[in-house]
């Protein structure tokens, strides 16, 4: 691998299976994933200069990155909790790259893990999501808004304005499940059909149960280094990273079907010198099926309003036009809360190493998007083979 000092690489990844981990708490999950990622990079805890942690919904901490540092027994010279919800895994790469390029640290460990499935009772997990700060306590929550209902408002607007159908939404869920069926690390592995998605009970119209990602336990981690370090064989290059967090609440958005992913996607494509047609595999933030449809539009894979048709049938599968979330995504690999899409990053690295369970032939580029809150905070990352 030839590299300049300021080039940034992901040099190690670690994953625990998503699903249920009743015997582990959130910090134990995070530590195990961290250990796997360091070992994959050929590093040890002594090499951890910087530490980024998404924290835990189950074990809320004032300073989640410091809580993890004390549990790992490390003393990072740079640490932070990104604080942008489901955009955190991508924002962590931007923050980490800045610290590495500034020379503050030589290695940054990014960790996310939580046990939302078994650590909180089902009802408490539901209430926790209903009370999520991103649902405004004065303007939204009093009317019975919840995170699924806010995404449902986005979905309904998309359906009413652009003619997007429940069938097109369902096809997103089916594609994610198709990948998960063959991925032993995924939480939901029973095959489903479009009809299963349509027949599932409605949560908030037009979204049914299978349009929503399942609460899970899980953890993943990865390690960032600068190009002047000796890089291991599995290193993957960061080609660009951008974030935009200019709103938390859906009520603050003028057009809820057009998100700041347009800005982050464009910024990343420009810094990487790439176009959407150059992307071999996409990792969209699929907390709900509608999110994938708006993201393929906002990231430039199709025009606004054409996302439904773009994802329909088998478009997102290995044989489709744009393989997406090849591990099964949040919708079927699972959603442990704070960690959001960190497994999107580790799977993207496997794709570029050629070692994914659902391998895209010859994948050389991956685009990863994260969306926090009701798609109000955004971060995008482009990765490529080293």
């Amino acid at each position: 691998v030839t590299s300049q000092r300021d080039d940034i690489f992901i040099v190690g990844i670690g994953d625990l299976p998503f699903g249920k981990h009743p015997e582990r708490n959130s910090l134990m999950l995070q530590a195990e994933a961290a250990s796997l990622a360091l070992s994959d990079a050929g590093l040890t805890l002594a090499d951890v200069g910087g530490l980024i942690s998404a924290g835990s919904r189950v074990d809320e901490a004032l300073m989640p990155q410091a809580t993890l540092a004390e549990y790992l027994g490390v003393s990072p010279a740079f640490s932070l909790a990104p604080g942008v919800g489901g955009a955190s895994h991508c924002a962590a790469i931007l923050h980490g790259a800045l610290a590495l390029r500034a020379g503050v640290v030589d290695t940054v460990l990014v960790v996310a893990g939580d046990n939302l499935r078994t650590g909180l009772s089902r009802r408490a997990a539901q209430a926790s999501l209903a009370d999520a700060a991103a649902v405004h306590p004065q303007l939204e929550s009093p009317h019975g808004a919840s995170m699924p209902a806010l995404y449902a408002l986005i979905a309904q607007r998309h359906c009413s304005v652009y003619g997007t159908s429940r069938e097109q939404l369902a096809d997103v869920a089916v594609a994610m499940r198709q990948y998960a069926v063959s991925n032993p690390y995924a939480a939901q592995r029973s095959p489903i059909t479009r009809q299963d998605v349509l027949n599932a009970r409605l949560i908030a119209s037009p979204l049914g149960l299978l349009d929503c990602s399942p609460v899970s336990d899980g953890a993943a981690a990865f390690v960032l280094q600068r190009g002047d370090r000796s890089l291991p064989a599995g290193a993957v290059r960061v080609r660009g990273a951008a974030m935009r967090a200019d709103a938390e609440h859906l009520s603050a958005s003028r057009d809820i079907t057009r998100t700041a992913a347009r800005l982050t996607g464009d910024a990343v494509m420009r810094s990487a010198g790439m176009q959407p047609s150059d992307i071999d595999v996409l990792f969209a933030y699929d907390s709900f099926t509608i999110a994938v449809i708006t993201q393929v539009e906002d990231l430039g894979f199709c025009a606004k309003g054409e996302g439904g048709a773009f994802v329909a049938e088998d478009a997102l599968t290995l044989t489709g036009r744009l393989p997406t979330n090849t591990h099964g995504g949040l919708l079927s690999h699972g959603h442990p809360g704070r960690p959001g899409g960190i497994a999107h990053i580790t799977e993207a690295v496997r794709q570029l190493r050629g070692s994914a369970v659902n391998q895209v032939d010859g994948a050389e580029t991956a685009l990863i998007h994260g969306a926090g809150g009701p798609m109000t905070a955004h971060a995008t990352v482009a990765l490529a083979v080293a």
Partner: protein
């Protein structure tokens, strides 16, 4: 508990800005944020006027008329206190003056899928315990009879 599902979880008091808004509901006046300098209407969540940059946003009454921007029929209660309230129709409304606000459609219309773009008018209902909230009603009565 009423069919609105409250007020056990309805803890909105104690915010010095929004207390005025909820008192407005009790007085049957829908309030929005307006610039004291240029008189532009501003979003509910803003400190500075988007028009002139002035920090002097104040509460002022709006007409209560608007257009339904989006909706969802909530079938699964996000919290136990709302179990008796489902199904309910959560909507976002673009007020005639410009700001957007969320509320319930009253009465709920869980069989309707043609609500976007409909004219609505604000109304006020008691949640319980002397607390009032805003709801919107369809003003196109023919459309409401499906």
């Amino acid at each position: 508990m009423t069919e609105l599902g409250g007020p056990a979880w309805w803890i909105t008091d104690g915010d010095p800005v929004f207390d005025v808004f909820w008192q407005g509901c009790k007085d049957r006046r829908l309030l929005a944020r307006r610039c004291s300098a240029c008189q532009s209407w501003a979003p509910y969540l803003a400190h500075f006027c988007p028009g002139c940059g002035n920090a002097g946003l104040e509460w002022a009454a709006v007409s209560g008329a608007g257009v339904l921007y989006s909706f969802t029929h909530v079938m699964h209660a996000p919290r136990p206190e709302l179990a008796a309230a489902v199904p309910y129709t959560l909507i976002m409304v673009d007020l005639a003056e410009g700001p957007r606000i969320a509320a319930r459609l009253w009465p709920a219309a869980p069989d309707r899928s043609d609500l976007v773009g409909r004219a609505v008018l604000v109304d006020f209902r008691e949640v319980g315990g002397g607390i009032y909230t805003l709801v919107f009603r369809l003003t196109d009565l023919d459309g409401a009879e499906s």
